[in-house]
């Protein structure tokens, strides 16, 4: 869950109000404010305070257009699940809140009857959420939220350094290992792996395994057709171990947190950084070199991105202001707002947006194109595992990757633990 929330958090930080909703929590909405024209909307704190200012501006725009006041509550991202669950159960909580999608998160709230059904609103207001995204917020045939942004996991690299060292874009894991050696020889850290928080390890397993087995193979793992202790998972974990032992990562990567890992890349101390497309904006803000974004390579090819959704926006089942809350969600679904989010937050809503008038950097344009392929189903994309699996499995995965990186467990042992935690 920690990673999932973190994942939602960083993604949310990019998509502002809409995206922030992905990592939002709860405020008194069901009972905290009696003004029918005021709704409470709680969000997890974004990585960058500047994003919060943008969110506030976005809320102000909605207030001006609708006459409905939004009481924005910001809570620590790591407490979102606890706060939301507690407040919703108590019959209080926010009118609108962000939460992770998928069966382990929003699905659990839906099962307990804590979220407001939105199937009718979808029909009446014709919200054009992509079908694959809608599935992530549909439980027992009822749609209960609107999914946030589309995200990918991939490898950022410092193309200026790559050019200086004469390294071509890695087209296989062999190429990547060679690049690691060249970068190490130049006195730099090849890949800024950071796994103190644990959830980042799940992303590494996701991208390595996705590139190794493709989208069809990942589907088999997620739907249970294939067991998690199969040779492919062991091979993926072994590859991670091999990269670690080859010096591709910083010393003791499990002692480095996400922010410090990113800082290694921003500062030029590390030449590559594996994380999500939500970091495009922060990366471009913080670096003074050229950056490219590619999939983590497969053993025999360039590999595929892992793709999927961030979090979602939901309405409290006990809210007395569902009408205003639905108007708020409808605002988030407008073309105008979607385009604004893309341009300002560099994040991609989970519904079609005409981007012809949107100004975007080359790097973000690439991410937009990739996201479009996820949306229309034309691309081959793997999965980010932790948003599709249970918290027990995620915990086993995060602990397992840390164990491999610190030599506390073998890939075979970790794979067996994953299957046991399924």
């Amino acid at each position: 869950m920690k990673n999932s929330l973190r994942y939602a958090a960083v993604g949310a930080a990019g998509l502002l109000a809409f995206t922030l909703a992905g990592c939002t929590g709860g405020a008194p909405g069901g009972g905290g404010n009696d003004d029918p024209n005021t709704i409470t909307f709680m969000i997890g704190n974004p990585e960058d305070p500047a994003d919060l200012e943008l969110t506030e501006a976005d809320m102000a725009k909605f207030e001006e257009e609708s006459g409905i006041k939004v009481d924005l509550k910001v809570i620590p991202i790591e407490n979102v699940q606890t706060i939301v669950q507690t407040q919703l159960r108590s019959g209080e909580g926010p009118d609108v809140f962000g939460y992770d999608t998928g069966p382990g998160f929003a699905g659990a709230l839906a099962e307990a009857g804590l979220v407001f059904p939105l199937t009718d609103a979808y029909e009446e207001l014709d919200w054009p959420i992509y079908d694959f995204a809608k599935e992530r917020v549909t439980f027992d045939g009822e749609i209960v939220g609107i999914p946030n942004d589309i995200e990918t996991l991939g490898l950022y690299y410092n193309s200026t350094v790559f050019d200086e060292l004469g390294i071509d874009r890695p087209e296989s894991t062999g190429d990547l290992l060679d690049a690691c050696q060249t970068i190490q020889d130049a006195g730099l850290i090849p890949i800024a792996l950071n796994d103190l928080d644990g959830w980042q390890g799940g992303h590494y397993l996701s991208v390595i395994l996705s590139s190794m087995v493709g989208s069809a193979g990942m589907e088999e793992f997620v739907d249970g057709t294939k067991s998690w202790d199969s040779p492919e998972v062991v091979e993926a974990l072994s590859l991670l171990d091999e990269f670690n032992k080859a010096g591709c990562f910083p010393p003791s990567p499990v002692a480095i947190d996400y922010d410090n890992g990113n800082a290694l890349f921003y500062s030029g101390q590390a030449a590559m950084n594996l994380t999500g497309s939500w970091l495009v904006k922060d990366t471009e803000r913080n670096v003074d070199f050229e950056v490219a974004y590619i999939p983590f390579p497969a053993p025999d090819g360039p590999g595929i991105f892992s793709g999927g959704l961030g979090a979602g926006v939901f309405i409290n089942a006990t809210s007395k202001k569902t009408e205003s809350a639905i108007k708020f969600l409808d605002y988030l679904m407008t073309q105008e707002h979607g385009a604004w989010v893309i341009q300002n937050a560099q994040s991609i809503p989970a519904f079609p947006i005409d981007t012809s008038g949107v100004e975007a950097t080359p790097l973000f344009t690439q991410v937009l194109d990739d996201a479009a392929k996820i949306a229309d189903g034309t691309g081959d994309f793997g999965y980010n595992i932790d948003v599709l699996t249970s918290t027990e499995f995620n915990q086993a995965m995060w602990d397992g990757v840390q164990a491999v990186l610190t030599g506390q467990a073998t890939p075979e042992e970790v794979a067996a633990n994953l299957e046991a935690a399924r």
């Binding site: 669950q85 709230l109 103190l196 010393p251």
Partner: protein, 307 residues
Amino acid sequence: MTIASRSLAPTVTRRAQARLGIALVLPVMIVTALFFLFPLGNALYYSMVDFDGLDPNPPFVGFDNFTRMFSDPAVWHALGNNLIWIVVGTASPMVIGLLVAMLLWTVRRGGAIYRVIFFLPYVLPGVAIGIVWGWIYDPVNGLLNQFLRAVGLGDLATGWLGEPDLALYAVLLTAIWAGTGFAVVIFLSALRNVDTELVDASRIDGANSAQRLWFIILPQIMPVFLMVLTLTLVGGFSVFDIVFIMTAGGPSNATEVLGTYAYDQAFVLNNIGYGTTLALLITILSVPIAVLLNRLQRRLSLQGTGA
């Protein structure tokens, strides 16, 4: 007042005394019920249900959570780390605190400055301490590794929080740094009440420093010593914040203590019933020790021993 004398008192007086007694104990009873008995009863209830944080009517499971706790290897691993924390994390601040207090006891000028310097870490928020020490321990840009490299000890540079065999001790060192100031200040206050004539007499009799400390000074400050020992010891069972901030129990559970394990079970994995059971274990382990040391401290005080 004896039973006989009570029976001789007028009825009105007895009633007034009873009312006064009730009025005097009522606030304490309310506070105890509100902040101790009610939470304890609540915890006992949740330890006997399978509560996931969502179901308003969680199924009753009896003692299943307790059975599970005793057969859970992660509990024993966490308890082992707690024991390390208790032994090292109690002995170190006690010894260091006493020695520093002894040194400061003899300081004639600038004592207040030293007291502030030593006490300052204790008043800093645990979260801030954890974050700052996390930076210090950073394997790439951390001050500790940079210092080691600067003085030619680069071979010792390592990822302090990332090595399973080292991480717990690295966090412990931070906790000792943060907590020793408390022991220093309390011991120093106690030393001010030590009968210096006895110390001087023992010196004349030929007692060396260690003998004076052991036979003359320590007995006089024993109740205070036991009070600090109790607080530090119980803190070893309930340690949570600094471990949570610095390692969250990692890498791969290497620094897991009962507090972080209970938190993970309750708030990460949504096994709130089981997490509550683990929290009760912390209480069950720490309360008897606290009571025992408290009684010892009281007995010494009644005997007239101590500062």
